[in-house]
Amino acid sequence: MKKLSYILLYICLGIVAVFQLLPIIWLFLFSLKSNREIFGGNPFALPREWLWENYAKVWEGGIGLYFFNSVWITVVAIILTALFASMATFAITRMHWKLDKLVLGLFMVGLMIPIHSAIIPLFSMFLNVNLIDNPISIVLTYTAYNLPITMMILLGFYYTLPREIEEAAIMDGCSIHRLFFRIILPMTTPVLSTIVIINMIYNWNEFVFVNTFISSDQYKTLTVGIQNFIGQYMTDWGAIGATLIISLLPILIAFIFFSNKVVEGISSSAVKG
C-alpha cells in the first residue's frame, strides 16, 4: 500500500517534469531537421539527418553579431552592478552616518517598481541626452534596475562579516579603499558569484529596454535580434529552432555548472516584486 502510493507520487512528479522539459526537447529536435521532416515525420523522432548547418546558417546570417552584443552588454552591466552594489552595501553596513537607513529604504523601494511605469519617461530622457540607439543606455538601465535586488542579496552577507577585521586593518593604518578592495571585496566572493549569475540571467534575457531604446541592427541583443530574425525565416522552422537554441544555450550551460548558485540567487530574488 505504502509502496503503491509512493509510485503514484513519483508519477505525479514525473508528469510535471515531462511537461516542463518536453517543449524544449521538441525545440532541440526540430532545430536539427528540415521542414519536410518537421511537417511530415514524428515530432519526437531523432532527426534522420542531423542538420547542424541550420546553426551555421543563422549564426552567419546575423545571430553571431546579436550574440556578441548580448555578451558584452551583459558582462559590462554585471561588472558595474557588482561594483556599485558592493560599494553602496559597504557604505551602508560598515560606515557610520545618519541617513544610512533612509538610503537603504530607497534602494529597497526600488525592488517594487514595475519597469513599465518608467519606460516612457526613460525613453524621453535618453532622447534628450542623445543616448537613444546607443548601447550605453542599455548598460545604464540594466545596472540601475539590478542594483536593488543585488544589494538585497549582498546585505545579509555583509552583516555577517566580523567587525574585528576592519578594526584591525584600520589600526594597522590601512586606508578605506585598501580595506574595501583588498580585504572586504575578496571576502565576499561566495555571494558575488551568486549575484553574477543572477544578473547574468536577468541581463541576458532582458527584452523591453533593448526593444524600446535600440533601433539599429548593429546594437541589438539576442532577445530583440531573434524577434526580427524570425520574421525573415518565417517558414524555415529549422532555422528558427537553431536561433532559439543558440539564445538559450549560455544560460543552460551556466545552470548545469552552477545550479546551486542559480537556485540560491532565484530564491533570494523571491522578494523582487
Binding site: 515530432p43 560599494m87 552616518w97 538610503v103 517594487m112 542594483l147 578594526e167 527584452f207 523591453v208 530583440v224
Partner: protein
C-alpha cells in the same frame, strides 16, 4: 577607527554611484511619469497641460478596461495555480529521492528569456504542425483549434506558457520553506496518528503561511504588470483579445505616439500595483505569529 569610517567624502564616494543611478533611472522617471500623465504630448512636439483629462479618458476607454480585465484574469489564474505548486512541493519535500534534481528540472523554463519562450510556444500552438495539435490529432481530435488566432481562447492559450515559465520558481520557494520545518514536529504528529493529508493541511501549511503570502503578492503583482511574452506572442491580438495593461500602455506610447496618455496608464499601473500589494498584505495579515 570611527573617524576613518565616518569620513563624509569617503561615504559619498562609496554610496553615490549606486544612489545616483537609482535616483536618475528609477525614481526621476517615475515622477516624470506622473507629470507626463497630465499632458497632451506626442513625445516630440510641445506638451500641453490638460490636467486629469488623460485619466478621465482612461476611465471611459473600453480598450483599457478590457486590458485591465485580462490582467486581472491572469492574476486569478496565477494565484489559483499556486495551489497546484504547493501540492507538488509538498510531495517533493516528503523524503522523495531525486527531489533536488527534480526541482532543478522544474526551474529550467524560468531561466529562459520570455522572447524565446514566446517563440517556442508560438510553434507549440501552430495549428497544423505544432506539438500540441499534432498530439491532439494523434489522439483522434479532428480540427483542433487555431489557439492563437481564435479571440475566444487566445487569452487562455497564452496563460499556459506563463504558468509553465513560473511553475518551477514557486515550487522552489515552497520546497525551501517546507524543508525548513523541523522534522520533530512532523514525527510528533505522526505518533499522534495524523494522516499525511492532516499533516499537510494542519501543520505544514500554517507553518509556511508567511511564504505563501509572499508568493500570492508576487503572483498577483507579477501578473498585473506582465508584458514581454504576450507582446511577442500575440502583440495583444487578435483585435485586442489578449491585450493586457502593460502591452496597451506600450502600444499607446510607441505605436500611436500618445506619450501623455500612455504615461497616465503607466502611472495607473504603478498605483494599481501598489494598492493591490497593500490590500493583499492586509487581507492575509496574521493575527498571531507562529513560532517553532
Amino acid at each position: 577607527m570611527n573617524k576613518v569610517m565616518s569620513n563624509k567624502w569617503m561615504i559619498a564616494f562609496y554610496i553615490m554611484p549606486a544612489l545616483l543611478m537609482v535616483a536618475f533611472l528609477i525614481f526621476i522617471p517615475l515622477g516624470l511619469s506622473a507629470y507626463y500623465g497630465l499632458m497632451e504630448w506626442d513625445g516630440i512636439g510641445a506638451m500641453e497641460f490638460i490636467g486629469m483629462e488623460n485619466y478621465i479618458t482612461a476611465i471611459q476607454d473600453a480598450a483599457f478596461w478590457d486590458s485591465a480585465l485580462h490582467s486581472f484574469l491572469l492574476a486569478v489564474f496565477s494565484t489559483l495555480s499556486l495551489i497546484v505548486y504547493l501540492a507538488i512541493s509538498m510531495i517533493l519535500a516528503s523524503k522523495i529521492k531525486g527531489a533536488d534534481i527534480l526541482r532543478k528540472i522544474y526551474l529550467i523554463p524560468m531561466l529562459l528569456s520570455s522572447v524565446a519562450i514566446a517563440q517556442l510556444w508560438i510553434k507549440v500552438f501552430n495549428p497544423a504542425n505544432g506539438m500540441l495539435n499534432r498530439a491532439l490529432m494523434w489522439l483522434g481530435v479532428e480540427n483542433p483549434p487555431a489557439w492563437l488566432a481564435n479571440p475566444d481562447i487566445v487569452l487562455y492559450a497564452i496563460f499556459v506558457p506563463i504558468l509553465w515559465q513560473y511553475a518551477g520558481f514557486y515550487i522552489l520557494i515552497y520546497y525551501a520553506a517546507l524543508k525548513n520545518i523541523p522534522e520533530s514536529l512532523i514525527e510528533a504528529a505522526k505518533i499522534d496518528g495524523a494522516t499525511p493529508i492532516q499533516i499537510a493541511y494542519r501543520i505544514k501549511l500554517p507553518l509556511i503561511k508567511g511564504i505563501v503570502k509572499v508568493t500570492v503578492v508576487l503572483a498577483i503583482v507579477g501578473s498585473l504588470k506582465y508584458f514581454d511574452l504576450i507582446y511577442v506572442m500575440t502583440n495583444g491580438g487578435p483585435n485586442g483579445a489578449s491585450e493586457v495593461m502593460a502591452s496597451y500602455m506600450y502600444k499607446l506610447a510607441f505605436s500611436t505616439n500618445e506619450f501623455g496618455y500612455g504615461s497616465a496608464i503607466g502611472f495607473l499601473l504603478l498605483i494599481i500595483t501598489l494598492i493591490v500589494t497593500v490590500i493583499v498584505r492586509k487581507l492575509t495579515e496574521d493575527k498571531e505569529n507562529i513560532q517553532y
